[in-house]
C-alpha cells in the first residue's frame, strides 16, 4: 500500500475549478466557499441545520441581530462530507456531541473554541452545564481538553418516562422517582404492563429502543460496572461479564416481546405515537420527551420521569446525544460563526428553547426558564436535577461512527433473538466485526 500523494481535497479543488470554468461560476454557486461578502458587504454564513431549529423567520431575526447573511443547508452526512472534502466547509454544523466529538476532532475537522469561550459574555465557564463535557476531547479522553461545541439542549437519555394511567389499569406499582430500578426489575414490570388481546399486543409494557441499540448496551454495561470499549477506545469486548449481561438482558427483552425490537418493529419509527395513544407504558427517553407530553393534557398529568435503571452497583446516567453545533476548522468565517453560535446558545434563542421544555438548557442560569405548568413538567425537572449527580461521560471511540456499530448489531440480533442464541455466541460475532471496523478506522487517523 502506498501513501496517496494526491490528496482528495486537492483533487476536489482542482475539479471544482475545472467545473467552474466549464459550466460557469454561477452554476456552481452552491459549491462556492462559504466565505465572502454577501450583498451590501455583509458576510454570508453557511450553516448545516434543520429547518425546525433555523426556520426562515428565525434566520431573518438572526441576520438582523448579527448583521450577516445566513444560508441554511439541510443536515446531510453526504453533503457535509463533500463540503468538507472540497474545501467549502459550512460555518456551523449540527452534531451529536456525545458520539461525534472524538470522531471529528480525530480527523482534525473541528475548531477548538476555548479562546472564544474565554472571552464570551454570554457563555461563561461556570454557567455551562457539566453535561457539555461530552463536547470536549483532548485527543485520547472524551470529557477533557478543549471544547469543540455545545449542546443546544440535552437529556440524560437512560432515564425513562412512564404513564401512571397504564400502571393503574394493570395494577402495577409505580417505579421510584428517586431510586433507580434494576434492569431485571424493569423488564419484569414491562411484562406485567404488556396487554394482549389474543395474539395481538394492545399495550407494550416497555420500549428499550432508546437512542440506538449500541448506546443502550454501552450504558447497561457501564451501569454494571464494566465498559464495552477498551481504555484506548480502539477495540471493544462484549464477552466481558458485564457486556454479556447486557446482551442477555436485551435478548430476554426482545424474546419477551414486551416492546419494540428488530423482530417486533415499531411501524411509527419512534416511541411517541404509541405512547401518545396509550399503547406504550414505559419509554426509554430522557427529559426531551416531555416536550411532546406537555402538549397532551391527559398525559401531562399522568406521565412521570424515572431515574436511569442500573445493572449493578454503579448508578450511571449518561447523555447520548447532547445535540448541538460545532464550527469546522476549514470555515472561512470563524468569528462570524462564533457570533451566531454564541447568540444561539446563550442569547434569546436559548431562553426560548428552554421555555419550550424540549430539553435541558446547556446553561445552568437558564433552568429558571424551564416550563413548570404541568404535573409532568414539575416532576421531571425534580427528577433530572436529582439525576445530575450521576451523570458521567461515557467515552465514545474516535475510530468509527455509532451507525457502523448499530449496523453490525442489526445484522446479528434478529437471528440471535429468533434462534435462541446465547449472549456468548452473539458477543463473539459482534466482537469480530466491530473490532475489524475499529481497526480500520484507527488506521486512518493514527
Amino acid at each position: 500500500m502506498s501513501q496517496g500523494k494526491l490528496t482528495r481535497r486537492g483533487l476536489m479543488r482542482g475539479t471544482a475549478l475545472g467545473a467552474a470554468a466549464a459550466a460557469g461560476a454561477g452554476a456552481l454557486s452552491a459549491c462556492a466557499p462559504s466565505a465572502g461578502g454577501g450583498s451590501g458587504g455583509k458576510k454570508t454564513l453557511t450553516i448545516m441545520a434543520p429547518e425546525n431549529e433555523f426556520s426562515p423567520e428565525f434566520l431573518k431575526t438572526a441576520e438582523e441581530t448579527l448583521d450577516v447573511k445566513i444560508k441554511r443547508v439541510e443536515v446531510d452526512t453526504t453533503k457535509l462530507t463533500a463540503m468538507l472534502a472540497s474545501g467549502t466547509a459550512p460555518d456551523l454544523v449540527r452534531g451529536l456531541g456525545a458520539v461525534e466529538t472524538p470522531y471529528v476532532v480525530a480527523r482534525d475537522l473541528a475548531l477548538p473554541l476555548d479562546d472564544y469561550f474565554a472571552s464570551s459574555t454570554l457563555l461563561k465557564e461556570d454557567d455551562i452545564d457539566p453535561i457539555n463535557d461530552v463536547w470536549r476531547y483532548d485527543g485520547s479522553v472524551q470529557g477533557q481538553g478543549p471544547r469543540y461545541g455545545l449542546a443546544k439542549d440535552y437529556s440524560q437519555d437512560a432515564m425513562f418516562w412512564y404513564n401512571t394511567a397504564l400502571f393503574d389499569a394493570a395494577g402495577v406499582e409505580y417505579p421510584s422517582e428517586t431510586e433507580p430500578t434494576t434492569y431485571d426489575q424493569w423488564l419484569e414490570t414491562g411484562k406485567e404492563l404488556t396487554k394482549k388481546d389474543g395474539d395481538t399486543t394492545t399495550v407494550y409494557g416497555l420500549s428499550a429502543g432508546g437512542l440506538g441499540l449500541f448506546l443502550g448496551l454501552m450504558n447497561m454495561t457501564a451501569s454494571g460496572g464494566g465498559s464495552l470499549f477498551a481504555e484506548d477506545l480502539a477495540s471493544l469486548d462484549f464477552s466481558s461479564p458485564e457486556g454479556q449481561k447486557a446482551l442477555t438482558w436485551y435478548l430476554d427483552y426482545a424474546r419477551a416481546k414486551v416492546g419494540f425490537s428488530p423482530i417486533e418493529p415499531n411501524p411509527d419509527g419512534w416511541d411517541w405515537p404509541p405512547y401518545q395513544t396509550g399503547r406504550l407504558a414505559m419509554s426509554w427517553s430522557g427529559y426531551w420527551f416531555g416536550g411532546a407530553i406537555a402538549a397532551e393534557a391527559e398525559l401531562a398529568e399522568t406521565s412521570r420521569l424515572a431515574p436511569a435503571p442500573t445493572m449493578g452497583a454503579d448508578r450511571v446516567s449518561p447523555c447520548f446525544g447532547a445535540t448541538g453545533y460545532w464550527i469546522p476548522k476549514d470555515s472561512k468565517n470563524h468569528d462570524e460563526a462564533w457570533q451566531l453560535f454564541e447568540w444561539f446558545m446563550g442569547g434569546d434563542p436559548a431562553k426560548e428553547r428552554a421555555a419550550g421544555g424540549w430539553g435541558m438548557p446547556s446553561l445552568l442560569s437558564l433552568r429558571e426558564d424551564l416550563p413548570l405548568g404541568t404535573a409532568a413538567q414539575e416532576q421531571a425537572l425534580g427528577a433530572v436535577e436529582a439525576e445530575a449527580d450521576y451523570f458521567k461521560v461515557l467515552p465514545f471511540t474516535p475510530y468509527v461512527k455509532v451507525e457502523a456499530l448499530d449496523s453490525v448489531l442489526n445484522q446479528y440480533l434478529p437471528d440471535a433473538i429468533k434462534d435462541g442464541a446465547g449472549a456468548g455466541e452473539l458477543a463473539d460475532k459482534l466482537n469480530a466485526d466491530m473490532n475489524e471496523l475499529l481497526a480500520e478506522g484507527k488506521e486512518l487517523v493514527k
Binding site: A22, A23, T77, P265, G269, K401, E403, L444
Partner: protein, 327 residues
C-alpha cells in the same frame, strides 16, 4: 428553381461556392454542438467525472474525511467477492428483480388490455388504477406500514377474521413480500404505457384478422402482442435497471426513521444498494463502497446486455418478425 439547377450542375466549380458550402457546414456543425453542448457538459460533469472519481476512490481505503488514506490497489474489488453480505445482498436483489419486473409488466399489460375495452366508467377506472403511481413513495410506505402493522393493521385483521394468527409483516421473513406488494401497487405506471401502445395498434389489422376468422386470443397473441413488444421490452429494460438499484423503499419500510434507517433494514429488504449506502455512510468505507458501485454498474451492464440479446430475438421492431430480420 428549374432554370438554376441545371446551370449549377454544368457550371465549373466556382470558387465562391466552396466557402458558402463550408460556411453552411460550419453553421450546421456549430448549431449541432450548441444543441448537444449542454448535454455533453452534463454528461462529463455528472456522469463521467463521478464514475472516474468513484473508480479512483475504489482504489483507496478513504473514509471521506480522514487524512491518512492509502492506495490499496484492487483490494476493494477482491473483497467484493469475499464479503458474504455483498454476495447475499446481490442475490437478494436478483431475486427481487425476477419477482417484480415480469409481474409488474404483466400486471400492467393485463390491466391495460382490460381498460382498453369499451365499457361504462372506463375513464374513472383508468384514473383509479393509475392513481397509486402518482402517490409519493413516502406516503405509500407509510400507508403500507399502517396496513401491515402487526397489532393494528388491516392485513392481520383479515387474517384474524379468517381464523389465522397475526404476522409480523414488517419484520423478517415477511417484510420482503410487503415491499414487493408496495412496488406492484404502483403498477399503474406500467399500465399507462401499455395502454398508450395498445391504442396505437392499427384497428384495420385486427379487423382483417377477424374477417379471416381469428378469435380474440389469436389476434392478441399474433397481432397485438408482437406490436406491443417494443414497449414491453422498454418496460423490462427500465424495470430491470430500476429494480437492481432499489434502495429508498427499503429504507422507508425500516423500523427506524431517517437516514439511520439504513442500519436497521431487515435482512429481507437488505438489497445491494442498501448495502452500498450502509458501507458509505454508516461504516464510512468510501473506497469499498465505490468498488461496490462499480461492480453494480458492470452487473447492470451485463444484465441489460443479456436482456437486449434476448430482446433482439423477440421484439417486433416496426412490426417486423425478429426471426426474419436480416441484420
Amino acid at each position: 428553381m428549374t432554370a438554376t439547377l441545371p446551370a449549377s450542375r454544368t457550371a465549373p466549380p466556382a470558387s465562391p461556392a466552396r466557402p458558402r458550402k463550408r460556411g453552411r457546414a460550419g453553421t450546421r456543425t456549430r448549431t449541432f454542438y450548441l444543441f448537444v453542448g449542454p448535454w455533453i457538459a452534463g454528461f462529463v460533469l455528472l456522469t463521467l467525472f463521478p464514475l472516474g472519481y468513484a473508480f479512483w476512490m475504489s482504489l483507496t481505503n478513504t473514509d471521506g474525511l480522514s487524512p491518512n488514506w492509502s492506495y490499496v490497489g484492487f483490494d476493494n474489488y477482491l473483497k467484493v467477492f469475499q464479503d458474504e453480505q455483498t454476495i447475499a445482498s446481490l442475490g437478494r436483489t436478483g431475486i427481487f428483480m425476477l419477482a417484480t419486473v415480469p409481474t409488474g409488466v404483466a400486471a400492467g399489460l393485463v390491466m391495460a388490455v382490460l381498460l382498453n375495452r369499451d365499457f361504462k366508467g372506463r375513464a374513472m377506472f383508468r384514473a383509479l388504477f393509475y392513481l397509486p403511481a402518482v402517490v409519493p413513495g413516502v406516503a405509500a410506505a407509510l400507508t403500507f406500514k399502517i396496513i401491515f402493522d402487526r397489532n393494528a393493521g388491516a392485513a392481520n385483521a383479515v387474517i384474524g377474521a379468517a381464523g389465522g394468527e397475526p404476522l409480523s409483516w414488517l419484520a423478517d421473513p415477511y417484510v420482503r413480500f410487503v415491499l414487493i406488494l408496495m412496488m406492484l401497487w404502483g403498477v399503474g405506471g406500467s399500465m399507462i404505457i401499455s395502454l398508450a401502445a395498445l391504442q396505437d395498434v392499427p384497428r384495420e389489422l385486427l379487423e382483417a384478422a377477424k374477417v379471416d376468422g381469428a378469435g380474440p386470443a389469436y389476434s392478441f397473441f399474433k397481432i397485438t402482442l408482437p406490436l406491443l413488444s417494443p414497449i414491453i421490452f422498454f418496460q423490462v429494460v427500465t424495470g430491470v435497471i430500476g429494480s437492481l438499484q432499489i434502495f429508498v423503499p427499503s429504507l422507508l419500510l425500516a423500523p427506524v426513521n431517517g437516514p439511520a434507517a439504513v442500519t436497521a433494514v431487515p435482512e429481507g429488504n437488505y438489497f445491494f444498494m442498501v448495502h452500498v449506502y450502509a458501507e458509505y455512510f454508516a461504516k464510512s468505507h468510501f473506497g469499498y463502497a465505490s468498488a461496490l458501485l462499480w461492480v453494480l454498474f458492470l452487473f447492470v451492464l451485463l444484465i441489460t446486455g443479456i436482456v437486449f440479446k434476448i430482446g433482439n430475438k423477440a421484439v417486433f421492431y416496426g412490426g417486423v418478425d425478429p426471426t426474419e430480420r436480416k441484420d
